[in-house]
Amino acid sequence: MPVPLSPQKALREWKLYLFIVPSLLLVATFAYFPAASAIYHSFFDWQGGDNKQLIGLANFERALGDSVLWGSFKTVSILIVFNLFKMIPSILMAVLIHRLKSDRAQYLYRVLLVVPMIVPGLVTLFIWKFFFDPNLGVLNKVLDFTGLKTLLVHLDGLFGWGVFFENAPIGWLSQPELILPSLFIWGFPWIGTVGVLIYLAGLQSIGQEVYEAAELDGVGPFKKFLYIELPLILTQVRLSLILLIIGTLQGYGLQLLLLGDAGGPGGRGMVPGLWMYNRAFIAGEFGYACAIGMILFVFILCLTYVNNKYVRVDK
């Protein structure tokens, strides 16, 4: 714990304040100032230049009636549901690694897990984009090779989706109906390195005696997961759940690179962050973009509040 100082001594140590000045200045200029500026400018009609006009709540009124914005909230909710589902493989993998008997194998798998992290995120993203390519892409080749494509075409005929055709390659990122399914397949098998490492850290706290007791009672592997492992990593699961929701809500890098700044064909991949980016840097409506940012901000702040109130992270 830091040593408390008497005011006299503190006065003598005034130079210490110089130590915090750089950090403070940086944070004030590049974090607090932009945040304040965003709130301020959301009430203006502003093109990013010197001219701005106070228009009160007009930006927010416009946002209320903006069908693209609400459509993007719908899309992002679907993406959140997808991402919740995509948490499962990481949990499964952490439990499997934890149950391995040899410590060396456990460490080996941890290292192997980290290996994908040495590929820059953007490169992974572009390789996946390349997988989705209709003509050269790996995904279509796999579907052709395994005969799954014929199945998809049959299902299409059955349900009348009008998406998959016998003789045409599947345009994963160019057909509006396929944008969301593509975003779902994205990143298969959905192992998040960081996620698995968090869960492993949580599992590490399970004492041997718990397993021994379970063993004596003849508890099977699935029940072990349900009654021993899951409750113990529930904190971590909840934590990553809330971080995931917040991350998905704010994120738009993936959609921007994969589908372009208009959210892809039919705007099916439009998310709120991307719409903000689009309004600011494509349409030049900086004031309105700030208002969208504020709406998003309020949503996330509420979630953070709920998180802090109801989801306790016990150390």
């Binding site: 140590e13 210490l16 499997l96 390349f130 998003l296 901000f297 702040l301």
Partner: protein, 331 residues
């Protein structure tokens, strides 16, 4: 010992089934990496002919009877089937086909892709190394100073200041990017690498301060007192006590900070206009936007973009694994 180990998992169930599942996961996870590596040695023609496996080191010379009576020689990469059976497949349906020959040729591996890749991406890597290294060093330097301030004494106002930093952990940064852009414009920092460095340093302060403060608080107080007895100023105490004692945590934070700067693309995309200033993020996006793509060259460029991270990984694997777990706990 082994009885104790056995307690984790079941006695009856052997581990091989778990290994099988885990290996399957890992293999799929590493598949993009594999594709990147093997495609980087191909040109588009051999990639279309054989997308999955590395090419065999053989080429086929095919002779055709051209309509004017002259023999026409065509060359292509051999397929694995031809290499295994030892003879070229031939084209029985084509009357002009006269015969083919299989010969060993290491030229099927397009090593020159790597040269092109390096030319494509080298300047971007140089810019990114500059931004990431100077940003990481500056970020950690300021964070150590700040953390020392909070950890050493409980100064008047330090509670308030701490709160001001921690509040930022809760605030989402999403709304910031638009005003940040105009702020950088007003500071005439648009289209400079300095903008990336400064914003990166500012963005890293909160987390680094948080971790370092906790760490420095746990250092033994006697060390500081002894240094003070010897007349060391606060700055000297940082240099001679704090930094030597917190090597691993600083290393971990440095890796996390370097990684995040290496992967950053949104801010550079908005800020940078000149091609000479592009960092890796914008550079890769720019490459992706080209219409006719030589996948081999692009994949080689992708691989080259990963090399600095691979080097760090090889040298600091432990820090890397731990760093990611630490980053995990921060969330």
């Amino acid at each position: 010992m082994s009885a104790l180990k056995d307690a984790v998992g079941s006695h009856r169930q052997k581990d091989w089934s778990k290994h099988l599942v885990l290996l399957a996961f890992i293999l799929i996870e590493l598949f993009p990496f594999y594709m990147m590596l093997q495609v980087s040695f191909k040109d588009n023609a051999s990639f279309i002919q054989n997308p999955w496996a590395p090419s065999p080191p053989f080429r086929v010379t095919e002779t055709y009877q051209a309509p004017d009576g002259q023999p026409l020689v065509k060359e292509r990469d051999a397929t694995w089937g031809e290499v295994l059976s030892g003879s070229p497949k031939g084209h029985p349906a084509d009357p002009a086909y006269q015969g083919g020959e299989l010969r060993f040729d290491l030229g099927v591996y397009k090593v020159q892709n790597w040269g092109f890749g390096l030319k494509l991406i080298g300047p971007y890597i140089a810019n990114t190394v500059f931004v990431a290294v100077s940003g990481t060093v500056a970020s950690l330097f300021f964070a150590i100073l700040g953390a020392y301030f909070f950890a050493r004494y409980k100064m008047p106002l330090s509670g308030v200041l701490w709160g001001a930093f921690m509040l930022l952990m809760l605030l989402p940064g999403v709304a910031n990017i638009v005003p940040l852009f105009t702020l950088l414009k007003d500071l005439s920092l648009l289209n400079t690498l300095w903008a990336l460095i400064i914003v990166g340093v500012a963005g890293g302060q909160v987390f680094n301060l948080f971790v370092l403060r906790n760490f420095i608080e746990d250092l033994p107080k006697d060390l500081f007192e002894a240094a003070e007895m010897d007349g060391a100023s606060h700055f000297k105490q940082i240099i001679h006590v704090v930094i030597p004692m917190s090597g691993p945590i600083i290393g971990t934070l440095a890796i996390l900070s370097f990684l995040s700067k290496w992967n950053d693309f949104l801010l550079p995309l908005i800020i940078l206009r000149d091609k000479e200033l592009f960092t890796l993020g914008v550079g890769l996006i720019y490459l992706d936007g080209e219409y006719v793509k030589q996948w081999g060259q692009i994949m080689a460029a992708y691989f080259i973009a990963s090399i600095p991270l691979i080097i760090i990984f090889l040298f600091c694997m432990r820090l890397f694994v731990r760093g990611l777990s630490a980053g995990a706990i921060k969330g």
